[in-house]
Every structure is written in structure tokens, then in C-alpha cells.
Amino acid sequence: MTIQEVQNEIIEEFSMFEDWEERYQYMIDLGKTLPLIDEKYKTEDNIIKGCQSKVWVHADMNDDKVRFTADSDAIITKGIIAILIRAFSNQHPNDIIEANTDFIDKIGLKEHLSPTRANGLVSMIKQIKLYAIAYQTQLN
């Protein structure tokens, strides 16, 4: 699936929730089930320190596709990470570079990507893009 297709799928899933509680419960459950980042990648180099929560991101590339793993110490942040990874992981670096994050607005989670939240997610998206740029350079 392309990034756009995955994002559309996520938007459709979220449209079935009736209120914020269902939406957040889903994210909390996602946060609990997110495959953890390999402990060896939870290093100081991979950490994004938000004022509120910490985020770890690791990337590697196989068959021209970038795979992301990540973790957070806060479960709602982790839930959003799970959604971001679902959208951006296992994609070609160039597709990741060109993709946008509008779908986060559409599923009612825009507030979590506000810099004032200081939860590390804004930096995480930047990091995802930077990894993609780096891997794209390798491919060129």
C-alpha cells in the first residue's frame, strides 16, 4: 500500500469512533500493543526529549524500504507513534519525503502535533523525514 492508501485507511477507521473516548481508548490500546523498539536502540542518540514525554526512534533500510521502530514513556504518545509508523514505515524513502501528515488533523489528533505540547512528536516527524532524506541520498 502507498502512504496515501494507508492514511486513508486510518482515516476511515477513525471515522467509526463516535466520541473522543473511543478514539483515545483505541490509541491507548495501540500504545500498549506497539512492538517495542529493540532495547539496544533506546540510546541517548535516538532519544527525542520533549518537556512532557520522551520518544525514541530508530530506522533501518531493507530492499529500498525504510523501517521505523519507536517507543515513548507515555502511552498516548506511543499510540500516536504507532499510527505514524503504520503510515510511514516500510515505504520508499522518496515517498516518505514527499508525504504529508494532514491525516493526523483528519483523525482529530492535531493537538498532539502542536509544538506547545512538547511531547516529542513534532521532532519525531522531523526525524522520520531526516532518516528518509539520508537513505534517499544513499540510493542516489
Binding site: Y24, I28, C51, Q52, K54, I75, I76
Partner: protein, 409 residues
């Protein structure tokens, strides 16, 4: 006498337009008062009146508007002087707030300290009362000593006693801790520090909304606070300094207003307080600061403290009934601030869910990372109350918190 009779909270709440609003479709429950308090219409009206009727630059105009603005601004300074019982109005320096006040003093001391001198700071400080002193130490070669805290969030005074010596030049401590609510024994700290001729700066950012400090009775050398924590506007605060100290400190910023005479060879600085008030100040803010002090005094600080203690006791009792909930900062002497965590749930998660239910609390390290490091936690959830909060709001908060825990566990 029944306390509730002395404080008509429902009537007071009508003074605060913001308390009528909704958040996420729910009535706002504002428990982030330690970060900033809300503003009553009596203060908002003063700001509107200033800009609508007599907005002008102060101290230098001969025209009517400038005169009116100057009078109002200086009248507010006198209100602040009387409120804190300073000996002279010129010992009250208008600043942009607590952080600015602290930086002004720290900067001034860089010419008074030398290598080998010691300055002391408490373990309960806000970053704004740690970083300027670290910078001061870097500039001067002085050493920073820390008064440690205990498990209850109280300063260990025996350690303070043994750290204090002839080399100690300055001691900095907050009157009340922003993260834990502990009321520090500043009377003792001031008295002991003066025995070795060390000056004491007290950060009153968290105390001024709840108590009325008497700077002369305390014999404190510097006392600082922000208007926005005591029903005033943001961007204005004050530095109280004893005349002798303010005369010793060099000016902080150069500019208009702070000079007596200027030539390219030499500039003579203006007298207090203008020496420290370079440039056009926050005129409306200063006047509104005075109005905020009037407003709080019209309620009465004793009434405020009694009522807020009731809220604190009630909320503490309710919170402690929740399984796995731990309160940080259990000092005997504390104000209406409760910092807590529930089990291993991250404070950010609880804060996020509470926001969805219209409840505003603070989460994180509260700019007091050393305290969080002491307890080995990433942060806490902090609920802080003002006199306009109610027990009904606490009930709503507790019910919402229980729901958040259910969702997150």
C-alpha cells in the same frame, strides 16, 4: 465563624469571565493556578480604561495624558509598596516578572562577587532561580552550594546550617515551592544568613497569591514576584530590594529613563527606582498590577488562605482514596498545590485525558527537574487551587481522574 460565610465564592467567580467558558464541550475546571492565575474583570477593566482613555508615555511628557499615566503608574507602585510593607516606594522596581527580577539581581552581583565566594540555592527551586545563579558563578568564579531537601519536600535546615559560612555572600530560596507547594522557613534562613552577612533573595512567585509578605518584618534583602500569579496581567512583576542593596547594584540595562545626564564621556545614572527601569515600561501592566493587589486585598489574604487550605485538605483527602496514588510534597507547611502520580501511569497521559474532560492541570517537571530527579520520576500531575475554585470542581476533577485511570490502566 463559618469560613464559607466569609468568602462568597459564587459571587467572586462572577468576577472572572473566563470561568464561564467551556473546554471540549465541558465546563472549564481551572486547576493550573500555580502556572498563572485568572484575571478578574476589575483588573481587565483597568487595562481597557488605560488604553481607551490615557495611554501615553510616562515620566517625560508635559501633556495631560502623560501626566495621568505617570500618576496612575506611580500610584500603583505605592500600592505595591504598601502591600509588601516596603519602607520606600523607590525600593519597588517594576520588572517583566519574577525571572526578570532574579536576573536583574544576579547580573548586579556579578560585579560584587569574586572567586572563592559562595552562593547558596535551595533544592526546591524553579529553573529560573537556578540558571541565573549558575551563570553568575561562571562569570565570577563563585561556587554554587545547594540546600538539600528531604522525602517530604522540606529543606534540610541542619544541612543549610553547615553549608553557611563566612564565604557565603548570597542565599536564594523560594518562599513556596512551585512543584510541591512547600512553604519554606524563610524567616530562619534570613536570620541565619544575616549572621554571616550574606544577602537573601526570596522568590515569592508562588507565595504572593496566597499570603501577604511583610518585607520589613522579614528583614529580607530582595523579594521578587510576578503579577500574573496574583490575578494581575502577564509581563509585569516586581523586585523589592533594600535601599542599601539597590544602591550597591549597578544598572541592569542601558537606555532611556535610567539616566540622569548623558554625554559621550560619561553618563550619570538616575536615582532609584529609575536606575533599573530603562526604556518604556509595561505601563498598563504596572497599573493593572496595582488593581490586582487592590482586588486581592478586598477579599483579604487571611480569608483566601483559610479557604484555600480547606480546598487543599478536601482534595488531598479525596485523592488519597485512589489506589496507587502518591502525593509528592507532604510538608506540614504547604499551600494549595498538589503534585501527584498514579502508579506507573505517565503524567502526560493523565493530563491529556483530563484536558478532554475540561480539566486544566499541569503535567511535567514544572521547571524543577532537580526535584523530579530526587524522586526519580519523569514528572508529576499538579493541581493548584485559587480562592475562586470550589469543592464541586474538586469532585468533578476526582471523578474525571478516576475515569482517566480506568482508561489508561
Amino acid at each position: 465563624m463559618d469560613l464559607k460565610v466569609m468568602l462568597d465564592v459564587q459571587k467572586l467567580r462572577k468576577d472572572f469571565p473566563i470561568l464561564n467558558r467551556e473546554v471540549n464541550g465541558k465546563p472549564l475546571v481551572y486547576f493550573d493556578n500555580a502556572a498563572t492565575s485568572q484575571t478578574p474583570k476589575q483588573v481587565i477593566d483597568v487595562i481597557i480604561d488605560y488604553y481607551s482613555n490615557y495611554n501615553a508615555n510616562i515620566h517625560r511628557g508635559v501633556h495631560r495624558l502623560s501626566q495621568e499615566a505617570t500618576d496612575a503608574y506611580e500610584q500603583a507602585r505605592i500600592k505595591i509598596q504598601h502591600h509588601f510593607n516596603a519602607k520606600h516606594a523607590y525600593e519597588i522596581i517594576y520588572t517583566a516578572g519574577t525571572t526578570h527580577s532574579i536576573n536583574l539581581v544576579a547580573n548586579g552581583f556579578s560585579s560584587l562577587l569574586k572567586k572563592g565566594d559562595e552562593i547558596m540555592v535551595s533544592a526546591l527551586e524553579h529553573h529560573s532561580n537556578i540558571v541565573p545563579w549558575q551563570m553568575l558563578c561562571e562569570r565570577t568564579g563563585a561556587t554554587l552550594k545547594v540546600i538539600p531537601m528531604n522525602e517530604n519536600g522540606e529543606l534540610v535546615l541542619s544541612e543549610f546550617d553547615s553549608l553557611l559560612n563566612e564565604k557565603t555572600k548570597l542565599v536564594f530560596v523560594n518562599h513556596i515551592s512551585n512543584a510541591l507547594g512547600t512553604i519554606n522557613p524563610i524567616e530562619y534562613i534570613i536570620e541565619e544568613s544575616h549572621r554571616v552577612n550574606a544577602a537573601v533573595l526570596v522568590d515569592g512567585a508562588q507565595s504572593c497569591p496566597h499570603i501577604k509578605p511583610d518585607v520589613q518584618a522579614l528583614d529580607v534583602d530582595f523579594y521578587v514576584c510576578s503579577a500574573h500569579k496574583m490575578c494581575g496581567p502577564t509581563g509585569v512583576g516586581m523586585l523589592y530590594g533594600k535601599e542599601e542593596w539597590l544602591k550597591k547594584l549597578p544598572p541592569y540595562q542601558g537606555g532611556g529613563e535610567m539616566i540622569a545626564e548623558v554625554s559621550f564621556e560619561k553618563t550619570t545614572y538616575a536615582d532609584l527606582p529609575h536606575k533599573f527601569e530603562a526604556g518604556t515600561p509595561n505601563i498598563a501592566g504596572g497599573i493593572a498590577f496595582g488593581a490586582a493587589i487592590d482586588y486581592m486585598n478586598s477579599i483579604g489574604f487571611e480569608n483566601i488562605a483559610n479557604y484555600e487550605n480547606e480546598l487543599l485538605e478536601y482534595a488531598t483527602e479525596q485523592l488519597l482514596q485512589i489506589d496507587g496514588l502518591k502525593i509528592y510534597g507532604t510538608a506540614k507547611n504547604k499551600t494549595s498545590v498538589i503534585s501527584f502520580n498514579v502508579g506507573n501511569i505517565h503524567p502526560y497521559d493523565i493530563g491529556t485525558i483530563l484536558d478532554k474532560m475540561g480539566i486544566a492541570v499541569r503535567t511535567g517537571h514544572h521547571c524543577a527537574q532537580p526535584i523530579m530527579d530526587y524522586y526519580k520520576i519523569p514528572g508529576t500531575i499538579r493541581a493548584s487551587f485559587m480562592f475562586y475554585n470550589t469543592k464541586e470542581e474538586i469532585d468533578l476533577f476526582i471523578a474525571s481522574l478516576k475515569k482517566a485511570i480506568l482508561m489508561l490502566l
